[in-house]
Symmetry: C2
Subunit: 412 residues, 2 copies
């Protein structure tokens, strides 16, 4: 039976780990960094070496393509991303891209003629140094002006970085593919959470992807001399921000068990030993697979935050930065993944993804599915991120089988 070439896959993965490798043993390939651009070039070279066509679209998505016999056939996308968070791990995104490329080579080597084209795609800026899911949203036709005007990484950075790599903001939207041109989307990814390990399952079948909302908060008090300003007359912005960070945790733990809430960053001004902080800025992110839970959590946190700030004499400004609605993944695709795993004798677990993925952008326009493999201790976005090679290989074979199954059923 058809399978991926384990040695070839492993050699590719190892080569990719060297691009942007950090001292800590992870990789740092933020969007459009030198290491990221090098990884993308490496990917195109590997595609050419395998006799595949290559493609770079108006959003900078990089692809290897195995054409169908019929030129009007729709395309089944297999993909992930080569960008990483700063000082991230080796597996997040990279595994899915090399597995997709290997799936195309395996089909090509076997001389199979499919009724769909297969495309291994490396999406631009999944992690969000700039926007987040930039490439997949563009391909799905969901890149809004609102997102481009107030991106996660700041407007200035987006404009400068697009210009630097020769992309045109106005043309990003030209990367859109009409839904009828797509036969579906499949992604292999590490779980980045502890559930598969905890349940000793080999393959995760993703049923839904949690939605997320992100916000910038600014607490404003008064910068005063720390030695001469009595405790009772201070308006200390850091204390308001600290109270809010603890409130986020307590509210989620006590009342929203299906959600997570994180204050991932805090900065104060003037930031000195001897000055009471006059300003504190926080980054907040909330996630849940249920939109109504996100609505309720957001509303409750902001009521409490405004009350707490007022009682400390602080002003509070809340700016909405990002919003991804939760999505359910395609049932037929989930079944194809499960069958593929069962055929290989692998145990499966259905689960929700707490992390965001490009599948989120594609699910509204095409059948989308995701295959997870276990992350040791759930560690991710960290150099210690690890998945055993056997799990990686199993995931790649499940990806190949699910792809073939969907390809054959997409002929209509």
């Amino acid at each position: 039976l058809i399978a991926v070439n384990a040695d070839r896959l492993r050699a590719d993965f190892r080569a990719l780990c060297e691009i942007g490798r950090t001292q800590a043993g992870g990789v740092s390939r933020t969007t459009f960094s030198d290491a990221h651009l090098d990884a993308r070039e490496w990917f195109l070279r590997r595609a050419v070496a395998a006799g595949l066509e290559t493609r770079v679209d108006a959003a900078g998505n990089h692809s290897a393509v195995l054409a169908a016999a019929r030129s009007s056939a729709p395309t089944l996308l297999l993909g992930s991303h080569l960008d990483s968070v700063p000082d991230g791990g080796r597996f997040d995104g990279a595994l899915g891209v090399v597995a997709a490329l290997e799936a195309l080579r395996a089909v090509n080597d076997a001389g199979l003629a499919l009724p769909v084209a297969l495309e291994a795609i490396d999406f631009t800026d999944e992690e969000g140094s700039l926007v987040g899911l930039l490439g997949s949203l563009a391909l799905a036709g969901a890149l809004t002006q609102e997102l481009l005007e107030a991106p996660r990484g700041g407007r200035e950075s987006l404009v400068a970085e697009l210009a630097r790599v020769g992309l045109s903001e106005a043309q990003l939207k030209d990367a859109r593919r009409p839904p009828e041109a797509l036969a579906g989307y499949l992604e292999l990814h590490i779980e980045q959470g502890p559930e598969l390990q905890r349940h000793r399952a080999q393959i995760g079948v993703v049923t839904a992807i949690a939605g997320s909302r992100s916000f910038r908060l600014l607490f404003e008090g008064a910068a005063r001399h720390a030695g001469t300003t009595p405790m009772s007359s201070r308006r200390d912005a850091l204390l308001g921000a600290a109270r809010f960070a603890l409130l986020v945790r307590d509210t989620v733990v006590d009342r929203f068990p299906g959600c997570v809430g994180t204050v991932g960053a805090i900065e104060v001004e003037p930031s000195a030993f001897n000055v009471v902080p006059g300003r504190a800025r926080l980054l907040l992110e909330l996630r849940s697979p249920a939109a109504e839970q996100l609505d309720a959590l957001e509303a409750q946190l902001f009521r409490s935050a405004h009350r707490a700030a007022a009682s400390d004499g602080l002003d509070l400004t809340i700016e909405r930065v990002g919003r991804w609605d939760p999505v359910e993944l395609d049932a037929k695709t989930q079944a194809a993944i499960e069958r593929g795993a069962q055929d290989l004798g692998l145990s499966t677990l259905r689960l929700v993804s707490g992390a965001g993925h490009d599948a989120q952008a594609l699910a509204p326009v095409t059948r989308a599915g995701m295959i997870f493999v276990p992350s040791i201790d759930g560690i991710s976005h960290d150099p210690a991120e690890h998945t055993s090679w056997l799990h990686c290989l199993n995931g790649a074979n499940v990806l190949l089988r699910a792809a073939l199954s969907l390809a054959q059923s997409s002929s209509g």
Copy 2:
């Protein structure tokens, strides 16, 4: 009767406000910045223009000197500092230096022969971009190797900055003056707190200067993906740091009413929306006029901090950065200041300084005294720092009178 020349003093103060002026209307003259060096040069030029001798010692202290008739006479120092915190106010330090210079000119103009030399001195690095009280500690012979090895602003910055302005670390200690060469130290300064305004007093007579202790704290947990790591399995360093910041406030307010405690800065890593913070660094400062209170507060805070960190699964490292013992100022000098104010019909208030000053370094080796004038709303270390010109002028005249009184009683 002898008095300062109000127009000349005001012109000097205004000229100084232009050096390092910020858009917000304050000044930014951190130690050895261009603006700071410009202000020091301006000061020497004004001294030369007034026919005074000038002096720059091995610690970079800048002085104008009015010699005594007898060359072996001791020196009465009048001074403050021309450096500022980043984005600071116009009065902190600068007022004391221009008032000291004006006092020398007033004595010179009056042709008074005093039994002591008068020296208007601008001390190096009072605010502590590098070390804090660097110049006055060197002059007092109290600059320890320990301070130079682990300075507030970091060792690298100290070494680089001294080299850049042509000072030798090894020779800093040569700035020491033997106690018998000193007749005392007097400093005019804005209060930087609200007490004079609250009591409607025109002149503050400082009885003691609070001691301070400063620390760097590092909370270490584990950086994890914010979307996939359940709340229950997080070791979020920011939450430990937030809990500690609130604990500092509550402990001081509830149990140490004579102290202040401030977390003035916080930084987390990796610092992103979607990563649980793995590390949080805090800057902590405690102040009190009573050393035993500082001992007790420090001990209690650190017990609680270690307990809190352990219960959150975090590691905690505490590094001691600075320690200034509280000092009492000279009783005879306090009386001279009070008499000077009373002769001018100005109301006085005895008070403790919560802020640190060069007088702290000098009090152990010579009679030291400080004159405070009211700060509007106690605002300081901020562009909005303000003292009415009449209060400034009153302070300068009290400085002159107290200096003459101490000079005449120092002849022995």
